[in-house]
Subunit: 111 residues, 2 copies
DNA sequence: TAGTTTATTCACTATTGTTGAATAAATGAG
DNA sequence: CTCATTTATTCAACAATAGTGAATAAACTA
């Protein structure tokens, strides 16, 4: 098959948070969004580590934010999904859908 | 945080293969099913390792098959999902569904 | 320049994934 | 019975992903 492995669970979660957030995606909000959507608490360090990996894979890009923070604090590093990243998430979704489809015991749940 | 992590991608894939296969689930067929459904080739060793972990977590159970193989060959070890395992897969599905829902950029795909 | 604030990076450990090679257990031929 | 063959599982070692708390960086203010 294709020479890549599925995105890890956290990586996928981060990608989806990025897609949701759009513009204002940097460390803290990303982490908060993950917690809000998945109910899962993840240390900031984990999120940054995942973002780093995703960037290395070309699924995410980043740029420094304006150093002009209202009152103190280091400049932000904004992240966003690349088109490759979006494609990857789509493929992942398709693959999981395909795996789920036809498993009878999973039927009858809210979608 | 919550005391469990999401199932890994391979673990989830293995669980789904087990649910599909029902009775005749042991090493080779499981591996074949994964390849058939996901297009991903996985070494048998990987599958066994995942099964081992899943059993430790109580999501899968196993029993020795009849030593009566038609023509040679070691006895099989059959695996099946426990009720906890089924529950876990359901929760995982729900969680991912929830994450996907509302991400506009993922819209407009075959389901 | 020191203190405070906000944010990112680091160092380290744990869990999960991966593979090829080794081992085990069964059968049948000779 | 013993050896080759077959089928299947287990092992050992390494790579990738996940996860955390502490350290560092960069900005602002007094």
């Amino acid at each position: 098959m294709s020479d890549h492995t599925y995105l890890g669970g956290l990586e996928l979660t981060v990608m989806l948070a990025l897609l949701r957030l759009g513009e204002d995606a940097y460390g803290v909000p990303i982490s908060r969004e993950i917690e809000r959507q998945s109910g899962r608490e993840v240390a900031l360090g984990s999120v940054y580590a995942a973002l780093e990996r995703l960037q290395e894979k070309g699924l995410v890009s980043s740029h420094q934010g304006e150093p002009t923070a209202a009152r103190g604090g280091r400049a932000k590093r904004y992240f966003r999904a690349t088109s490759r990243g979006l494609r990857e998430v789509r493929e992942m979704r398709q693959a999981l859908m395909k795996l789920w489809r036809g498993v009878r015991k999973l039927r009858g749940e809210a979608t």
